[in-house]
């Protein structure tokens, strides 16, 4: 159940590898070493969550995957045209309505007006925002903004979904509700998911696999396969096996802090 990650390829059963980090290192121009020899891969139908202390370089992994930063060592292979990226904040354009915000990425990809309208309507349905298409972001709660942000990424049906601590700013109830929604989307779309969070509970609840990163420079120090069946029910959080899993990860994380 608990194995030390050595950088070798990890055993995966379902789907093709869509995101692959191979000995990725990252040193910032100021000399800060953010990542050290990180290897991991995410297959279609896998949901991999990285937990680790603040500033350990978790988010840097996603930024490398999406080409917002370039790694200084190793290779990261991913089809960059099929990435969905969900930011820490909703990153909506305040001057656009929900509908127009959801259409944005499709618009930047040059889809026709009719096409993106249809796709946006579908995505808005999926995240449960129907009826709010004409609202502006300022009229929405934090949870609803995040839903709109999710819908915006969904429109292009990405094969790889990167989540950079997306629900950290939300209250617990809203966060749990959005966890369920992302899981439903995950099951429906079968994308390869990579999720960054501080919350162990969230990590275990969402994932097929949880990776623990050490403090700077970030290295993967532990990997946990999460055995629970999908669809997962929110009562899972209160089952002994779930608590045990969280306990083990917490233990590994405490080790990673030193």
């Amino acid at each position: 159940m608990f194995e030390m990650q050595t950088g070798a390829n990890m055993s995966n059963t379902s789907g093709q590898t869509l995101l692959d980090f191979s000995s990725v290192s990252m040193t910032f121009p100021d000399g800060t070493r953010a990542l050290d020899n990180v290897s991991l891969s995410v297959n279609a139908g896998e949901f991999v969550t990285v937990v680790g202390p603040s500033g350990c370089g978790k988010s840097t992994l996603l930024r490398i995957a999406s080409n917002l930063e370039s790694n200084t060592g190793g290779t990261c292979s991913v089809d960059r045209d099929s990435i969905g990226y969900v930011f820490q904040d909703a990153t909506l354009m305040p001057w656009r309505t929900v509908q127009k915000n959801v259409e944005l990425i499709a618009e930047l990809h040059g889809l026709s007006k009719a096409d993106r309208k249809e796709k946006a309507a579908e995505a808005i349905d999926l995240v449960g925002l129907r009826g709010f298409e004409d609202k502006y972001p300022r009229q929405l709660s934090g949870g609803m903004r995040m839903r709109a942000s999710l819908a915006r990424s969904l429109v292009m049906k990405p094969k790889v979904f990167l989540f950079d601590e997306p629900f950290g700013a939300l209250d617990e109830i809203t966060r749990e509700r959005l966890n369920d929604e992302v899981l439903q989307l995950f099951q429906r779309e079968g994308f390869a998911g990579m999720f960054i969070t501080h919350s162990i509970t969230e990590a275990v609840y969402m994932s097929t696999k949880v990776l623990v990163m050490s403090a700077r420079p970030g290295r993967i120090v532990a990997s946990f396969d999460i055995p629970f069946e999908y669809p997962r029910n929110h009562d899972l959080r209160y089952e002994p096996a779930f608590a045990e899993m969280c306990g083990e990860i917490s233990h590994a994380l405490r080790g990673a802090h030193q």
Partner: protein, 287 residues
């Protein structure tokens, strides 16, 4: 396929629009200040000024009777010549403002493209902003023919700075993550400008517009002083005539009408701003 069943539970999360309530206090403020203003005017012209100097500042009712209610006496006395001059200046102000907006926004876009250009350009903009127009009049006269064009140039010189600085500030105000969203989609510089930076800049652009619009009116009036030709003269030149002849009532009337022009322009851009961005941009005032 099933959609996520959260419709009911999230309805209450929508933040309702605040209804604009107009109450007595919305009018009482302006009314009280107006009463104080008229009161101090009477005090100044009727009590404080010595009697032999009171012709310099006629009382409010004298201004109304002799300035506003006399249509036309002689060549340039009365309300009609004042309106004609005002219209003449308004045309100059509007033309100058139009040029200012185009020039200012283009400059701001160019400056937003590179830090290098921004740093190279600022000192000259500040210089234009602070150079006294009086000192430039001979040069302007030598370079440009025709009082109309000369006055328009003065308007541009006086009004351009706020448009540039506010537009630039706005163009650079988009959040990093918003930029990254565009980067992730491989957006071109033009797409980034039109779909992200420009809309993000709109609230600042409107602030700049309101300031520049007011300055354009000032610029037109100032330009009237220095550049005039035969026929109908601008309100600034008209004010100068009244000042020289010590026609107090007409002088005050002309000044009030010039202010009214500034106020109209200011209100127009306030309205335009609300119409364009009021739906998504909110201003907050704490309590």
């Amino acid at each position: 396929m099933s959609t996520i069943d959260t419709q009911q539970s999230i309805v209450d999360e929508v933040i309702p629009d605040q209804k604009q309530r107009i109450s007595v206090s919305d009018y009482s403020g302006p009314a009280i200040v107006f009463a104080l203003f008229i009161g101090s005017w009477y005090l100044l012209s009727g009590v404080i000024l010595p009697p032999h100097k009171r012709f310099l500042l006629p009382t409010p009712h004298e201004v109304i009777n002799e300035g506003f209610l006399v249509w036309r006496t002689g060549e340039s006395r009365g309300f009609q010549p004042i309106l004609m001059s005002l219209w003449d200046s308004a045309k100059v102000a509007i033309m100058g403002l139009a040029i200012t907006i185009v020039v200012g926004m283009v400059l701001a876009v160019i400056m937003s493209m590179s830090r290098w250009l921004e740093r190279a350009t600022w000192p000259y903009l500040v210089a234009v902003q602070s150079a006294p127009v009086l000192a430039l009049t001979p040069l302007i006269r030598a370079l440009i023919d025709g009082a109309q064009k000369q006055r328009v140039l003065v308007v541009v010189l006086i009004a351009v700075f706020p448009i540039v600085s506010n537009t630039l500030f706005g163009l650079l105000s988009a959040e990093k993550s918003q930029h990254e969203l565009f980067t992730l989609q491989g957006a071109s510089r033009w797409t980034r400008l039109t779909k992200l930076q420009f809309p993000a800049a709109l609230p600042n652009i409107f602030v700049g517009l309101r300031i520049s619009a007011g300055l354009a009116v000032i610029g037109a009036v100032v330009g009237d002083f220095y550049f005039r030709q035969g026929g109908v003269v601008g309100i600034g030149a008209q004010i100068d005539v009244y000042r020289n002849r010590l026609w107090g009532a007409e002088l005050i009337t002309a000044i009030i009408m010039a202010s009214v022009l500034g106020l109209v322009v200011f209100l127009f851009f306030g309205w335009l701003s609300r119409a364009a961005i009021g739906k998504w941009h909110i201003t907050t005032r704490g309590q």
